[in-house]
């Protein structure tokens, strides 16, 4: 299994050559607190790395999900619209956000592996 991490606390799981699933890390969901709303992008939207593609709302505030890679959004986890708590309960599983078809697979090389991410959040 190949999972990578961004500095914006997203996880990116590679599924095949150019398909990835993206979500937020456990560290991120703990920082955000109780989630009450997730605004997802549309299937078919293009995203480029660094762009805000989704809004995550906790009781207290709204935060952005920043695209860790560029590509086309081919699926969104629409369950989150009614059950944002899935992110809190299972951030790396049921609480996934989007599936993206990569337009530039080399961007994956810029992401961190698990041990690098763990040291990153310990800083």
């Amino acid at each position: 299994m190949s999972i990578k991490f961004s500095e914006d606390h997203e996880w990116v799981e590679l599924k095949g050559d150019d398909l990835v699933v993206i979500g937020i890390t456990d560290f991120a969901q703990e920082q955000l607190g109780d989630l009450v709303y997730v605004e997802l992008p549309e299937v078919g939207d293009e995203c480029s790395r660094g762009e805000n593609i989704s809004v995550i709302e906790s009781v207290k505030a709204a935060s952005d999900l920043v695209a860790p890679v560029s590509g086309t959004i081919i699926e969104v986890n629409s369950r989150l619209e009614d059950e944002p708590e899935l992110v809190t309960e299972d951030s790396m599983g049921e609480g996934w956000f989007i599936k993206v078809k990569l337009s530039n697979t080399s961007e994956l090389d810029d992401l961190m592996d698990e041990s690098a991410y763990n040291s990153f959040i310990e800083e």
Binding site: G33, D34, E57, V59
Partner: protein, 374 residues
């Protein structure tokens, strides 16, 4: 009085850290925004059991002197002279334009003695205002080295009665001086969550002992400022800097209920506070804007600053407080709207990130207030 500009902490700082609180800067203090329980559960816990809040950052001021009541009346559109002994009243410091400098609680401790609790962010300005305006008529004393704990929720009275039984006979907006375990406490049955509960003023050095005593009851949990905000929002209570500010009169902030009859036009002591002409004209002739509750459609929170439009795209107001109501499991908001659009029951929308969210004007509070009136 000197308040240095560096970040300050309350006497319970270490206890918050030990409890695992997430600390944030607020009004010059490092304050707990939430504990490991999380805002949502802390909120629900307060509605169902009892939440303990450290609100020691708030300002505590005493006015002493035989003209204290009359003097304070010159700064607030509220009846202070006839405030009964050991009773509280909600009041507002007005400015010369009829706007609101701060809101506060006033307790009558005796003929010549008043106790005020003011907002943390305004306490320095409030003290100066009192000193400059009425300092010659009474002694204005800013209380240093004091703490303020709030115990809020339907179980609050049981918890406190176990420690000090005589608090159970207190009714909403009354006060009592008591000694708890050797600690001098000034207790009021009041709060800002919409629930029954108490606020306890005590020496800062004793706050940790009392907090530990209260937390030893299993019904009690620490609750942070995050839940304090969602609780007061559901209870439809105004927050200074949001629903209340220097640019709007109490009438424009829908606080007519707080303006005492005797201080209104035709009352025995009408006017006589800053901005009285403007405030009384708003009372008598109506104001251009008001504060109302809004129920957004769907699940997306509509937050402070979101503009409100009618269906023709006219801007008709702005959200002053908004978020998610954990007890209601849905977003709620409070907004300042032009009176005309409230009366017309126009179809309204909030603008959130370029999207139009339908909102309906609703009566405040969102959640029934549960005060103990005897």
């Amino acid at each position: 009085m000197s308040i240095d500009k560096q970040i300050r902490t309350t006497s319970l700082y270490q206890m918050h850290l030990d409890a695992g609180a997430k600390m944030v800067p607020f009004a010059g203090y490092e304050m707990p925004v939430s504990y490991p329980l999380g805002i949502k559960k802390e909120h629900i816990h307060t509605r169902e059991k009892a939440g303990l809040f450290d609100v020691s950052h708030m300002g505590q001021i005493r006015l002493v002197g035989k003209n204290a009541k009359r003097a304070l009346e010159s700064l607030v559109p509220v009846d202070i002279i006839d405030l009964p002994l050991m009773k509280l009243r909600y009041a507002l410091f007005t400015n010369k334009d009829g706007g609101v400098m701060d809101d506060l609680m006033v307790t009558n401790l005796g003929d010549e003695d008043l106790f005020l609790v003011v907002n943390a962010a305004c306490k320095e300005a409030d003290f100066e205002h009192l000193q400059n305006s009425i300092g010659v008529e009474c002694k204005v004393e800013f209380l240093e080295d004091v703490a303020l704990l709030a115990l809020q929720g339907p179980k609050a009275h049981e918890v406190l009665a176990e420690i000090t039984p005589s608090t159970s006979e207190m009714t909403f907006m009354t006060a009592k001086q008591l000694v708890i375990n050797g600690i001098n406490c000034f207790i009021t049955r009041s709060g800002y969550t919409g629930e029954d509960g108490f606020e306890i003023s005590l020496p800062a050095k004793d706050a940790e002992d009392l907090a530990k005593l209260l937390l030893s009851n299993e019904e009690v949990e620490w609750v942070g400022l995050g839940a304090r905000d969602s609780l007061r929002l559901e209870a439809g209570l105004s927050l200074y800097g949001h629903e209340l500010d220097n640019d709007h009169s109490p009438v424009e902030s829908s606080l007519n209920w707080a303006l005492s009859k005797v201080r209104r036009t035709g009352g025995e002591r009408q006017g006589g506070y800053l901005g009285d002409d403007i405030i009384m004209s708003h009372l008598n002739e109506g104001s251009e804007s008001k504060i109302v509750g809004l129920q957004p459609e769907g699940r997306m929170p509509v937050r402070d600053g979101a503009l409100i439009e009618d269906d023709l795209g006219n801007e008709v107001g702005k959200v002053t407080s908004g978020g998610f109501g954990p007890s209601l499991e849905k977003p709620i908001a409070i907004a300042r709207l032009e009176t005309h659009y409230i009366e017309n029951q126009s179809k309204l929308f909030a603008l959130v990130r370029g999207k139009k969210i339908a909102v309906e004007i609703v009566r405040l509070p969102f959640v029934k207030q549960n005060y103990y009136r005897g």
